[in-house]
């Protein structure tokens, strides 16, 4: 499976290099601006970094889905399905590959974001005052005392949700390919089944969520758990269809 994962990364490497290159460039501009105290350039580069972070997050997920689609719907599919590997291994490599890529992307941008804020705070003493003020406003609004574990838990939930979106898209694509070999309406069916799966998951979550009246951590863990179960089910279901039903 390691071999399969290696090629999952290899196939999607080019865009990652581009993102890294742009990120590096913007970071240099930002740090330079902070050092030279050029406020205007600083503002633009912060905005740029923020936009890049959003786009990268979006693109990493989209690319995982596009790659999956190409690996199923184009001649490129022979590359994977001629190898003596089971569909479970192939899907496993894809799921793990997506998780690692999303994790690394998120980790990189978060780490850089924190580092940049601290750097800024060190250079401008006013900034740290602003951060403190922001914290107070936030905890005032939510009525909660925002702590680091809480932020981490929220990030974890976003991460799980992100992964599940990718996996559900893979399931939808496989479903439409299996049910409708060679039909033109494949894309619409893919999309509709994607929506349907998400609705089902959301309904289940709110149903279970209503039963749980525990605190923030417990309910977060419960919804993360439900998502994880659905991710596992979707992965296994997709693999099963790939193994038994799909004709390339």
């Amino acid at each position: 499976m390691l071999q399969l994962m290696k090629y999952e990364f290899r196939k999607q490497m080019f865009s990652k290099i581009i993102i890294l290159a742009i990120l590096g460039l913007m970071e240099v501009v930002f740090l330079g601006a902070v050092l030279l105290k050029k406020e205007e350039v600083m503002a633009i580069s912060v905005l740029g970094l923020y936009v890049l972070a959003c786009m990268a997050a979006f693109y990493v997920s989209i690319e995982a889905i596009i790659t999956f689609s190409n690996d199923l719907k184009t001649k490129q599919s022979y590359m994977l399905f001629l190898t003596p590997k089971s569909a479970y291994q192939i899907m496993g490599a894809k799921v793990l590959g997506a998780i690692i890529q999303v994790f690394l992307t998120a980790a990189l941008f978060l780490a850089l974001g924190f580092a940049d804020v601290f750097f800024l705070a060190a250079r401008y003493s006013k900034v740290s005052e602003i951060i403190d003020a922001a914290k107070e406003i936030l905890s005032g609004l939510s009525g909660l005392d925002i702590t680091l574990p809480m932020i981490l838990m929220t990030l974890f939930l976003i991460f799980i949700c992100w992964i599940s979106t990718i996996i559900f898209a893979m399931l939808s694509i496989t479903l439409s390919t299996t049910v409708l070999e060679n039909r033109k309406s494949k894309w619409i069916i893919s999309f509709l089944s994607f929506i349907l799966i998400n609705v089902v998951v959301y309904k289940t979550m709110s149903l279970v969520g209503d039963q749980v009246t525990a605190g923030f951590y417990i309910s977060s863990l419960v919804s993360a758990g439900i998502s994880a179960v659905f991710i596992a089910l979707a992965s296994i279901g997709t693999s099963w269809m790939l193994e038994k039903k799909v004709s390339l």
Binding site: K75, Q76, Y78, M79, L82, T83, P84, K85
Partner: protein, 228 residues
């Protein structure tokens, strides 16, 4: 080694391969003949494990097609299918990573003979070069069963000769080759056995030399007789 029993594939109610019964034994070169759309490709893909039969079974060494058979069967499709990022050297690395029977030395040899350059991008190859690359990669595997789908399609005479030579060289007593084509005359002299397909059905099969002797006509003429 290979056995198809009533192998059938339907696409949305349309029958691509209809109750195909076929046995492939080692030490032979088979021609799978028929015009476009006669089901040759679908049949080959079933053997390669890319298409699941709707009915019937396909077994390799008595085991249904799956991971085990994929280790031993090499399939070459008509269309190029390598990843866009790859150059010719990357294709070799990919095969070496996934197929134990792949020989890197043989690949290097064939690439050189076919006048290909290892640093060339797969995407930028002409159709003739792409065809030669596919043959080189597929035949660098010491596979027991080799399926070549239209290896001579859209290729100039020189490249054809190179490909035919490579195919003949790869045949031995321990393997079997199945070559599909609608250009029968190219295959006439290299095959042991001919299988004729029409609209998903097997219409005739037999030893090439025996067919020629019994009917007093070449496989090419027989082909014309069947499909005219």
């Amino acid at each position: 080694m290979l056995e198809c029993k009533d192998a059938t594939k339907k696409y949305m109610g349309k029958v691509a391969v209809d109750r195909m019964n076929l046995t492939v034994e080692k030490g032979r070169i088979y021609a799978l003949l028929g015009p476009n759309g006669s089901g040759k490709t679908t049949l080959m893909k079933m053997v390669a494990g890319l298409v699941k039969p709707t009915e019937g079974v396909v077994t390799y060494n008595k085991i249904p097609i799956g991971i085990e058979s994929k280790r031993k069967v090499a399939y070459m499709s008509t269309e190029p299918f390598y990843y866009n990022y790859m150059n010719i050297a990357d294709v070799g690395k990919y095969y070496a990573d996934f197929f134990e029977d792949f020989s890197t030395e043989k690949y290097a040899q064939l690439i050189e003979r076919m006048n290909l350059r290892t640093q060339d991008k797969v995407k930028s190859l002409s159709s003739g070069m792409a065809a030669k690359l596919k043959i080189a990669a597929t035949l660098s595997r010491k596979a027991e069963l080799i399926l070549l789908d239209e290896p001579l399609n859209g290729i100039d005479i020189i490249a054809r000769e190179q490909i035919i030579t490579t195919i003949v060289e790869s045949a031995n007593d321990e393997n079997a080759l199945v070559v599909s084509s609608h250009l029968v005359d190219e295959l006439e002299k290299i095959i042991d056995y001919a299988v004729f397909m029409k609209e998903g059905n097997l219409v005739m099969q037999g030893d090439a030399e025996e067919m020629r002797a019994e009917r007093g006509m070449s496989i090419v003429e027989l082909y014309k007789r069947i499909y005219a």
